[in-house]
Amino acid sequence: MGRQTRAAVFQQPGCAINQAKPEHQRAKGCSPRTLIPGAAAGGCAFDGSKIALQPITDAAHLVHGPLACEGNSWDSRNAQSSGPTLYRTGFTTDMTEMDVIQGGERKLYRAIKAVVEREKPPAVFVYTTCVPALIGDDVEAVCAAATERLGTPVIPVNAPGFVGSKNLGNRLAGDALMKHVIGTVEPEWRTTRDVLIIGEYNVSGELWQITPLLKRLGIRVLASISGDARYREVAMAHRARATMVVCSQAMVALARSLQEKYGIPYFEGSFHGIGETSAALMRMATLLVQQGAPPSLIGLAQDLIAEEEARAWERLDPFLPRLAGKRVLLYSGGVKSWSMISALQELGMVVIGTSVRKSTEDDKDRIRDLMGEDAEMFGQIPAKELWRRLTNGEADILLSGGRTQFTALKTKTPWVDVNQERHHAYAGYVGMANLARQIDSALYHPIWDQVRAPAPWDVEDETP
C-alpha cells in the first residue's frame, strides 16, 4: 500500500479527538502504535478491515492470500444477521507456492467469477493480505475488471496485515466504502429521520436492542456500517440525515468523510449504560431536528427515555445490592472503555482500572471524569502483571476478551466476556440488565468456594 494513502487515512483535521490536541500532535494524526517484536499482541490491519465489513451480511467476502488469513479466522465472530448468511461463508483464494511465484491475479479473477456465479451476491468484497501485496498483485485492477465483466460490484479492500493494527484496518475498510460503495445506490424513499450508525457490529444482536427504540421514535436506520447490514443499504448511506459513531476511534474517519462530502453531521455516542443510551438517543433526536426533522421528535424522545429508564432501573433492582462496591478490572480492546465504565458505575461497581489501548486523549479525559484523578489507565498489561493482580485479589471480577479469559480463570477469578466473541448482548436499556445478570452470575457462582479451598491434605500439612 502506498505510504501516501496511509498518511491520508490518519489525517483527521475535523475529528474532535484531533482538534483537542496541541498543534504539533495534531499534524501527526493518529498514527498506529509501534509494534515491539517479541512483545506484541493484537490483530493486524486485515483483521480490522474484515471485522468492519463482514457484517454486510448479503455480500460475499473473499480473502486473497494464503490459507492462514481466512482459514485461521473465519466464522469466529458473533456478529448476527436477521436474514442473509452468506457473510458467514469463508471464501479464499488459498494461494499456493505456484501462485506466489506466478502472481495471484488470474487466480483472484477466477475466484471472484466462481463466487459470483455460485452465489449471485449483490457485491463481493476482496481483501488484500500480505503476500499478494508483497508480490505486487494489482488487486484494484482485477476488481475493476471483474466489476465490469461480471456486472457485480467487486470492492477491493486494501489492508494487508503488515501495514498496521486492527484499528488501521477498520479505517481502511471505511476508506474502501467511501471510495467504492457509498453513494452508488439511491434510496427509493427518504425521511427526515434517516440515520446512519457506524461501528456497531451487532455482536450477539446488540443492534437489535436499539432498533426497536429508534422505531418508536420513527427513526429509520438507513444503514449500519456494519451490523446486520445489507450491501444496498450501505451504498445509500450518503442519504442519511445524521450519523452516530459507536466505536469512536475506529471509524470516525468515515463519519468525517461523509460530513465533508455529503454534509451529514455526526456525533459519537455509546449504547452501553442507561445514561449513555439516553444521551445518545437525545443527541440523535436533536441532531435530526436540526437537520429538519419535526421538532416534536425531541418530546417523543424525552418521553421514551423517561419510560425506558424507569423500566431499566426496575429490572436492575434485584442486582444492585449484590453488585454494589464490587471491584472490576476492565481490560477490553473492543468496547469503548469509558462507556463501559459508566455502565458499571451505574451498577454501583467500582472500576479499579481500565485499559486504554484504543482510546484517544479525549477518551482518557472522560475516563478521568468518571473515575476521578486516581483512575488507573493502562495500555497493554503483561500477562504476568495481570496474573499477579488477580492472584492478590485486587479485583472481584475481570471483564475482558477471550485472550485473557484463561489467565483470569487460572487465578480463580470470576470473568465476563465483553469482546467480539461474547454471546450476550449488553446494549441499551435491556442489555444493561443482561450485563448485570452476567456479572452477578459470575460473582456469586457456587464454584468459587469449592475451587478456592485448598485440598484437605494441604491444610493438614500446615497444621501439625
Binding site: 517484536p37 512483545a39 469463508g90 508483497l134
Partner: protein, 456 residues
Amino acid sequence: MTRISGNGKAVTVNPARSSAPLGGAMAFLGVDRCLPLFHGSQGCTAFALVLMVRHFREAIPLQTTAMGELNAILGGAENVEEAICNIRDRAAPRLIGICSTALTETRGEDAFGDLKMMRERHPEWAGMNLVLASTPDYTGGLQDGWAKAVEAMIAALVPDGPADQSPIQVNILPGSHLTPGDVEELRETVAAFGLDPIVLPDLSGSLDGHVPVEYVPTTLGGTPVDDIPHMRASAVTLAIGEQMRPAAELLERRTGVPFQVFDRLTGLKPVDTFLTALSGISGRPVPARFRRQRSQLIDAMLDGHFYFAGQHIAIAADPDLLLALSGFLADMGCTIQAAVSTTSSPALERVPTDTVVIGDLDDLEQAADGCDLIVAHSHGRQAAQRTGIPLYRVGFPVFDRLGVANRVSIGYRGTRDLIFRVGNILIEGHDGHEGPSHGNEERAHDGIVDAPLAAD
C-alpha cells in the same frame, strides 16, 4: 486403492485446513519451558493464538516478530533478533521455536543463515535453544507444520551419531491428530510394559488443562528440553501417524535408532498390533489390565454395532486423523460416503473409501447428501445446520465443546469410549429411538425396527 483428487475449484469455500505455522507452534507447545514465535505480521500470531486459546481453553504462549511493511520489503532479520532478545528478557524460555510464515518465506529470507550470525553476535544466548521450522502458509496444513517442527527439533537438538543404547528407553513421536488425553494414554500404555518413553512433543504435560500455582510465561510441562538429545540412546522410535515418518527416518539417519510407524491406534486390530509390538520390544507379556480392556472393547463393539451398521458418514480431517477415524468407522460397519482431507499424504491411499478429495468443507457439504453423520471440526457446524445432519466434532479447531483436549480415542479404552460417543449421536439421530437401525431404508418404519429389541 483409494483415489485421491483435488476439488478443481477456483475458490476455496469454508476452509477445512488450519495453517502450517499453527501446527508448528502447536508442536513446540509440547516442549517444556518453550515459547513459540511466528516470524510474520502480528496478525498471523493473533489468529493462531486465538484459535488455540479457544480450542484448548488455556492461555497459550505465542509471540510474533511483528513484521511491518518496511521489514517485509527490506528483510526481517532485525525483527527476529529483537524478538529473541525481548523474549529472553521477559520469559527466559529454554527453547524458542520459530515458525516462518508465508510473508517471510515469500521474500525468501535465509533465516537459518541469519540465525547463525545472530548467535555469534549474542554469546549470552548460549543456554537458550533456538529451533527454526520452515512453515510457509502456502504449503501444506496443520499436520505438515507439526511434522516440520518436530523434524526441526530433532535436527537441532539430537546430536549425530549413535550412543550407548538403553534397552528399555523408547522414543514416541505422536502426530498432531492425538489429543493431550491420547498422548497421556499412549505414554501410560508404553510405561505399563516397563518401558521408559521420551515423548516428543508431549502435549499431555502442557495442554492437558491444569491450574498452575504461579504465572509462567512459557509452556509449563511437556517434553523436557534436556531429554531430547537422549533420544539417540533409545532402543526404538514409535511414530504415530504417517506424518511422523520423516521425523522417525531423520532420527534413524542421525542416530541409528530404528523405527516403526503405526497408522492408527484406534480400533481393535490396530491396538492389538501396537501392544504386540510393545510386548516384543519389552520382552514382557501384555499386562492383565489391557486384556481386561480388550474384553471391554469387544463388548462395546457387540453392543454398538447395530447403530453403526450401514450408516453413511461424511468426514473431513487432516490425513492421519482421517485415516484413523474412517478406518475405525469402517471397522464398525459404516460406509464412508464422503471423505475430505486437507493436504496430501500417503495415508490417504489407505482411507477405506472410493475417493478422498483434498478440498474444503463446502466439498464435504455437497457430498454429504443422505449421510447419517458428519465428522469434522467445529467449522462443520454450518454444514450440519444446513443439511440437518448431526455433527461429531473431531480434530482442530473444536471451540464449541468442552473437554476436547482430554478426550481419549486411542487404545482399547479410548476406542470403547469413541464407540459410545459416536454411537449415542447415531441413536439420537434416529429420533432418540433406542432400536437398532438397519440403514436408510428402514428408518421410515422405526416402530417395526424397534420390535426385535422389545422381544429380547
